[in-house]
Amino acid sequence: MNPPAAAPSILPDARPRLPRGVRLVHNEAQGGWVLLAPERVFKADPIAAEVVKRCTGEASFEAIVDDLAKTFGAPRERVAADVATLLQGLADKRLLEL
């Protein structure tokens, strides 16, 4: 599978996980999912939350994409590109380990 050129490449067998000190929580008062990190708070839209929930360190990138494509009935290639962009962005901020 070749993701579109714009998307960062993530190895199919990478097993993304949240490092110690980064937590995804649901908070009513703040209106939804938030990613808590060192002195930072990121609002997660429902799709981003679905992706991050799957970053357990057990599922591979490939398996996460398969699962999301199936769950949301979306084209696999597009899901792969979107997820890669999101995960690489999080990794650049030290919010995710790839």
């Binding site: 937590r23 808590l36 060192p38 962005g89």
Partner: protein
């Protein structure tokens, strides 16, 4: 996902209130260091007046109920409190993300393990310079540098995320590259390059701390290249040197909008410097719930939103961006807490900032002491 958490809406008169995101818990004003830029007030709370563990636990539960997500356990040196692990555990029990803001002096490995077991999420260690002798001189504490580095190593060994905080001023401003390299070497995933903000002790030491414009331009210009160079390895957050800025900072994200601060004795403030503004009565957690204070304390409503602002802010397109800047700075430099922050180049008082930036001297530091 990349939007930094900012609740929707606008806290102007008659509009729904924001939920605070962060609570700065100043557990004590006691600290082994004497940094001349300390953000604590000149009049500090004494040990006998400090809130007990159970009261902090209640404050954390009330904070979580208000929507607070993160607590910053700070001081002074929070480890000056023997019950720090109990306080930490109470914060986690309330569902809060716990940041420990420490000088790095006075936490043994055993103590760190105890804190990690109690639910510590993240550690921020301040360090004064990348050169040992200079670092110890700024801290007013011999051996501080070595102890800080040792604690950092212990934090990283536990795989806890580490932020290194470096306050920037005339004595270290020429070493931005070295300071970031030091943070990387310490194993930090985040570094704060925080130019001095002139409140409290820093205001008292302003002439000794103030860099020149050339130094500031040079230092600020290093941030983006360093971010590019270290992308994915370390996050570089910068606090701008506002005496040389064109526009003011949106202090604490707006008065009574995103965060609150509880002093060691339990007074609740919109920001740590707020007590320097006269005429405001700050309520205590001993007599009111956090929600009552957030919603009803007149001091919290005094500068909420933008309706109170005079010109040039009133008609300025940036008024919802920076809320006219910092109320404490407006008061400190103009005598009027409602004025436009004179850091703004549009302020009629901007010349005061320019004069004070030029007022540099080498009288030596007045160290912060309790």
């Amino acid at each position: 996902m990349t939007t930094e958490g900012r609740p929707n809406g606008n806290g102007g008169a008659g509009k729904p209130l924001h939920n605070p995101l962060g609570l700065l818990a100043e557990l004590t004003h006691r600290c082994p260091l004497g940094c001349p830029y300390c953000s604590n007030p000149l009049e500090m709370d004494k040990r006998q007046s400090e809130l007990d563990t159970a009261t902090w636990a209640r404050v954390f539960r009330e904070a979580a109920g208000l929507g607070v997500l993160q607590v910053h356990l700070s001081g002074g040196e929070p480890a000056s409190r023997r019950d720090l692990a109990g306080i930490m555990a109470a914060a986690r029990e309330a569902g809060l993300y716990t940041n420990l803001i420490t000088s790095g002096v006075g936490i043994t490995d055993n103590r760190l393990n105890e804190l990690a077991d109690a639910g510590l999420d993240h550690v921020q260690i301040s360090i004064q310079d990348s050169e040992q002798e200079s670092a110890d001189r700024i801290a007013g504490y011999e051996g501080a540098y070595v102890r800080k580095r040792a604690l950092a190593a212990a934090v990283v060994a536990l795989k806890l995320p580490l932020t290194v905080n470096i306050v920037i001023h005339r004595a270290n401003i020429g070493r931005i590259d070295e300071l970031v390299a030091m943070a990387l070497d310490m194993g930090a995933s985040r570094v704060e390059i925080a130019h001095v903000q002139y409140y409290g002790w820093a205001l008292k030491n302003r002439a000794s701390l103030m860099p020149t414009r050339e130094q500031v331009v040079q230092a600020v210009g290093r941030i983006e290249p360093l971010r590019k160079q270290h992308r994915g390895r370390i996050v570089i957050d910068a606090v701008v040197p506002d005496y040389y800025a064109r526009f003011p900072k949106p202090c604490v994200g707006g008065w009574g909008r995103r965060s609150l601060n509880v002093t060691p004795a339990g007074r609740v403030l919109p920001c740590h410097a707020a007590e320097l503004i006269p005429g405001l009565e700050f309520w205590s957690v001993k007599s009111h719930s956090l929600r009552e204070i957030w919603e009803q304390n007149p001091a919290f409503n005094a500068f909420r939103g933008t309706d109170f602002l005079p010109e040039p802010c009133r008609s300025c397109e940036r008024r919802e961006v920076d809320f006219g800047g910092c109320r404490c700075q407006a008061f400190a430099l103009t005598g009027d807490a409602r004025a436009t922050d004179p850091v703004c180049h549009l302020s009629p008082h901007h010349h005061v900032v320019e004069e004070q930036a030029a007022n540099r001297g080498d009288a030596g530091y007045i160290y912060r002491r309790l």
